[in-house]
């Protein structure tokens, strides 16, 4: 059993481990651990426990916590152990403390002293142990207690100490950037440390710093490039090699940093091209680690300023990943593809079948990654296929976290790219039905708005068809047992508004359904409220149409219940319903005009419609109204009810609510959007549609040319376009405040038709693949190439133009795609749009061998051609790593070589060199049955008898 020295273990401990190892169930394990807790509680506080024994107790405590039980009774003993003189015991104490305590634990204060003392120790291993603890236990308040010492240790002669000191400083930076802001220059300094381990560690804090503030570190580009170059050229000690790759973990970290520094910076990027190209060529694509570095190169290439040669190499690497049998590599390939298509959208097409294979793979991880890719490449031509797939997938899983994520992605895509309203509504129905409680309530409001507005413009029949089909589908869906609350709200609203509109269903049928809903979901007050108001609308429409209203008995009993409801909201709605039913047809019609949810309601605050009546009364000798504030001799008490706050200030307390903040007239509407939209605030998002004020502005009909209709976006996402959030407060300067009747209003331009779009055009297809796959591939990838090539020039301009303009015309143009399929299409500019006009995306036209030739050209030439300065810079750059080469292999154990020489294995005997791990492991070690038997025998000697169920415990991990 390996090396035992010093790590003394008693039979008791071995028995414990054995019994835990042999436990067959969680219950059995729990029983063992509970017994152990009892034992430890008794033993650990006995006086004069030998420290070896104590160390063992502490490790047993670690076991107790690791297996999920509370060991807090022993924390104090772990803390005490950190005081010990023996290094091993001390370090075990520190380890236990870092495992047990979080940085805010009360006991930490007892350790800070010990840490301070240990940081000053002559034994560098003690210092290292203390620094480990610093990284885990020091919080913002205690940083100052150790900071000076940590900074001092940055110059410690031992590289191990410098490395850990750097990481401690990194930790302080993570915890409280301001506490070490004056010290960040140390990271730059340590980048040039002559120990590669210290340099490698320094990359961690630098990565964080650069992530936050790229511009301050641009000067380091040359250094990073130079380091990377030297690493790739194997100038680091052999000990850093892993599976014949030179220091791959350092390479990866450097590539990550370069990706940050080169992002959007042409000059910085040009310095990187050569070295990244070199690494592309040097990477061994047959080993995992080689592919890990390759993947990082792709990430880097797709982040920095584009370079055609590198993009080609990246695309090649991606093809190799995607063609691999290994799921891991395909996963990396899909991820890499998602990054690269941002720059070269056309490469997706050549991998369409691989992508579809991944999408259809039973492996969930791969599937999700592929959905992520599809999400990135969605556009109006493939949105239907992609969203349908996503919804199917949502239905199939029950992981709520991911369900929420994918559902909101569906909604986002549907809002951005929906080809028709009909499709949008159907899609939303599916999303609501299957993930309704997980999506944002605004989505529901958008849907109601859309149904209410319909297609506007010119096509009333299409509108009513849409509504009828919505009503049909909802009546059908209501049969399902358990529906999400949000979806039920939408259903109730639509049924109330349009349930009887086309005459297909009788009022009693619809009201019956609504009563069923209210009864079935009797613990959901919001749904009940929606249902009651829907009932009121149905009855009001009936009365207005001159038909006799017979309230169903179940409806009557429901109303009786609601009239006495504890919810005042429900009560009020029920009373309103009662009142409406008692009115005559004429009154009802003006209270509840049918299909008027989109119309503006002007609230006449001055009650000017009463002017005539007042005039009459005054003429008849009535007293004119005196505003309360002007009245004299009023009792003070009356002021408590005063609506006017101007005078109330003389009295101490005010009992009435503060007045609402005055809405200021703003001109913050972006000029570009002024043309089509004007914004009116939506005061109350939840129930806006549910109460009808008694005055309505008549007939601002929602048909053709109604340009004065306002688009109301209360921070709501714009549909059909890029998400744009409109400023929420801005009013027109008229005195009468407009309130909203419908959910929100849309302007005339945001309209469309129901003409079904020709989705799947004929396009070039590859042979010998199943037709379904071809079809899917075509619908995902090929869709755009034909139609979207046309607008070449005009489109380009809009793409390069400012974002503002882009946003403003999006709502319109994306609708046009649906409606004017034959005309040149002005597509909303889309980075991910594969069908971009200029690029001929047919991959086969390029000779792959030519591409390969291109790859093999010396990359320096490329870089030089691109930029004269890059090569010059490379040669000028300081040879920071040159130091390493002087002591090629031995630098790290030069100092302690004499101590170690006796016990360290001769380097190389265990170096598992080969390409694939398992083979090599076997070949270098051979079958290890003998070892297992030896271990077995040893353990038996100690009295631990492995029983039959788990000889596996002895199995070599690498075997």
């Amino acid at each position: 059993m390996g090396s035992q020295g010093g790590f003394y273990q008693s039979k008791e401990f071995l028995d414990l481990v054995k019994s835990i190892g042999e436990a067959r169930s969680k219950a059995e394990e729990d029983r063992i651990v509970l017994g152990e807790i009892d034992t430890l509680k008794r033993r650990i506080s006995e006086p004069d426990i030998p420290k070896r024994k104590m160390k063992e107790y502490i490790i047993r405590l670690v076991y107790v916590e690791m297996l999920g039980h509370d060991a807090s009774f022993g924390y104090i003993h772990a803390v005490k152990m950190t005081h010990d003189d023996s290094l091993l015991v001390k370090r075990t104490g520190y380890l236990a403390v870092t495992l047990f305590l979080n940085e805010d634990h009360d006991l930490i204060i007892l350790i800070v002293n010990t840490i301070q003392k240990d940081l000053k120790s002559d034994n560098y291993l003690v210092v290292c142990a203390a620094l480990n603890a610093v990284c885990k236990l020091i919080n913002e308040e205690t940083i100052p207690a150790v900071l000076p010492q940590v900074v001092e240790l940055l110059a410690h002669p031992k590289e191990a100490v410098r490395k850990k000191a750097i990481m401690a400083l990194h930790r302080f930076y993570q915890k409280s950037p301001s506490s070490v802001s004056h010290l960040v220059s140390n990271f730059r300094k340590r980048l040039c440390d002559n120990d590669p381990g210290v340099m490698g560690a320094t990359l961690c804090p630098l990565f964080d710093l650069i992530t936050i503030d790229v511009n301050s570190y641009k000067d380091l580009v040359i250094s990073f490039v130079s380091i990377l170059k030297q690493v790739a050229e194997r100038r680091l000690p052999k000990a850093y090699d892993y599976h014949q790759m030179p220091a791959p973990f350092i390479q990866i970290k450097l590539l990550k940093i370069l990706a940050l520094l080169g992002s959007g910076d042409k000059q910085a990027s040009e310095n990187m091209y050569t070295v990244v190209g070199d690494i592309f060529r040097k990477c061994d694509s047959s080993s995992n680690i080689g592919n890990a570095v390759l993947y990082e190169c792709i990430c880097c290439v797709s982040s920095i300023y584009p370079n055609p040669k590198l993009l080609e190499s990246a695309a090649d690497a991606i093809s190799r990943f995607l063609k691999s049998d290994s799921h891991n590599l395909r996963y990396m390939g899909i991820d890499a593809l998602g990054r690269l298509i941002k720059i070269s959208p056309e490469i997706a097409e050549q991998h369409q079948l691989a992508v579809i294979d991944c999408l259809e793979d039973p492996d969930d991880t791969l599937k999700r990654k592929t959905f992520e890719l599809l999400y990135k490449m969605t556009k109006s031509t493939n949105v239907e296929v992609i969203v349908d797939r996503m919804i199917d997938y949502t239905i199939s899983i029950n992981d709520n976290h991911y369900k929420t994520e994918i559902a909101s992605r569906c909604v986002e895509l549907a809002e951005q790219f929906a080809p028709s309203n009909q499709w949008f509504i159907q899609t939303m129905n599916k999303v609501f039905e299957h993930a309704g409680d997980l999506v944002n309530i605004k989505v529901a409001h958008n849907l109601m708005r859309l149904i209410a507005e319909g297609f506007g413009e010119d096509d009333d029949t299409a509108d009513s068809q849409l509504r009828s089909s919505a009503v049909d589908s909802y009546l059908h869906i209501l049969g399902e047992p358990k529906l999400p609350s949000v979806f039920l709200q939408v259903i109730c609203w639509v049924l109330g508004e349009y349930g009887t509109a086309d005459g297909k269903y009788s009022a009693s049928f619809i009201t019956g359904k609504l009563c069923d809903v209210a009864e079935a979901y009797s613990n959901d007050e919001t749904v009940k409220a929606y249902a009651v108001t829907a009932l009121m609308k149905i009855y009001a429409f009936e009365i207005a149409a001159g038909r006799k209203v017979d309230m169903l008995p179940e409806c009557q009993s429901l109303m009786e219940e609601f009239l006495a409801s504890h919810s005042t909201d429900l009560q009020q709605r029920a009373y309103e319903l009662q009142a409406v039913i008692g009115l005559d047809a004429h009154a009802v019609e003006s209270i509840m005009p049918s299909d008027a949810s989109c119309e503006d309601i002007e609230v006449d605050k001055a009650l000017s419609f009463l002017n005539g009546y007042i005039q009459d009364s005054i003429e008849k000798g009535a007293q004119p109204y005196i505003p309360e504030s002007e009245r004299s001799g009023m009792l003070n008490i009356s002021k408590f009810r005063n609506q006017d706050h101007h005078e109330a200030s003389s009295h101490g307390l005010r009992f009435e609510a503060y007045e609402l903040p005055k809405q200021t007239v703003q001109s913050r509407i972006p000029p570009a959007s002024l043309a089509s939209t004007e914004l009116v605030p939506v005061p109350e998002p939840m129930y806006v549609s549910e109460s009808y004020p008694t005055t309505t502005v008549s007939s601002a009909s929602s048909d053709a040319g109604s340009t004065e209709l306002k688009l109301r976006l209360d921070g709501v996402q714009k549909k059909w376009g890029r998400q744009t959030h409109s400023p929420a407060t801005s009013t027109s300067s008229t005195t009468s405040q407009k309130t909203v009747n419908g959910i929100t209003q849309v302007d005339g331009s945001n309209t469309s038709n129901s003409r079904t779009r020709e989705t799947y055009e004929s396009r070039k297809q590859q042979v010998e693949i199943t037709p379904e796959k071809q079809k899917l591939a075509a619908s995902l990838f090929g869709g755009s190439s034909k139609t979207e090539k046309k607008p070449a020039t005009g489109h380009k301009i809009s793409k390069s133009s400012s974002y503002m303009v882009e946003k403003s015309h999006v709502p319109k143009s994306s609708m046009e795609i649906a409606s004017e399929k034959k005309a040149p299409i002005q597509q909303p500019p889309d980075l991910l749009d594969f069908g971009e006009p200029t690029v001929q995306s047919n991959a086969p036209s390029v000779d792959p061998f030519k591409e390969l030739e291109g790859l093999l050209e010396p990359t320096t030439e490329v870089a030089a051609a691109k930029n004269h300065s890059s090569t010059a810079a490379a040669t000028k750059s300081p040879d920071i790593m040159g130091l390493y080469t002087e002591t090629p292999a031995g630098i790290h154990n030069k100092d302690d070589g004499d101590i170690l020489s006796g016990l360290s294995n001769p380097p190389g005997t265990h170096m598992l060199g080969g390409t694939t791990r398992t083979q090599v492991a076997q070949s270098s070690k051979g079958p290890n049955l003998k070892d297992s038997l030896q271990k077995d025998a040893l353990v038996r000697q100690m009295g631990v008898t492995p029983s039959s169920p788990n000889p596996i415990l002895f199995k070599d991990l690498l075997g």
Partner: protein, 143 residues
């Protein structure tokens, strides 16, 4: 932050080593470990070695009876983490000689010491086996 936790769990779902780089309470750990292990153990050899779980990505690798699971955040290079696991196992193998589950159980603190050398603040800081093992060997010798 990169690495959020490292777990070693056997086929029966019993935890053999747990190291967290962000603080979770005992209950949270127990729940998390249960969920993750259930997810990973249900997968077969051909499937990806990566699993998404809540906000984590779990990279896992199986050696004989023991699963090594590393929770990382989204920006991490999964393949590199997979190889990091292998490096860890190789390092333990060099130290224990044909390392097995029981070695880790009997020498839990040593396994932790190796991890302490390799990972700090959730980042991989040392990948040279000699550098990782030398403090442990020195400590053994001293005591």
């Amino acid at each position: 932050m990169g690495i959020r936790f490292i777990l070693m769990v056997n086929k029966q779902g019993q935890t053999r080593l747990a190291q967290y780089y962000e603080w979770l309470t005992l209950e949270e750990r127990r729940a998390l470990e249960g969920e993750i292990v259930r997810k990973c153990l249900a997968r077969n050899e051909q499937q990806c070695s990566f699993v998404e779980h809540r906000n984590y990505k779990i990279v896992y690798r199986r050696y004989a009876s023991l699963f090594f699971l590393v929770g990382v955040d989204n920006e991490e290079n999964e393949l590199a983490i997979l190889e990091f696991i292998h490096l860890l196992v190789e390092t333990m193998d060099r130290h224990f000689g044909n390392v097995c589950e029981l070695d880790i159980m009997f020498h839990l603190e040593k396994a932790h010491f190796m991890l302490e050398e390799m990972v700090m603040n959730g980042s991989v800081v040392e990948t040279s086996k000699a550098n990782i093992l030398s403090p442990i060997q020195l400590m053994e010798k001293a005591s």
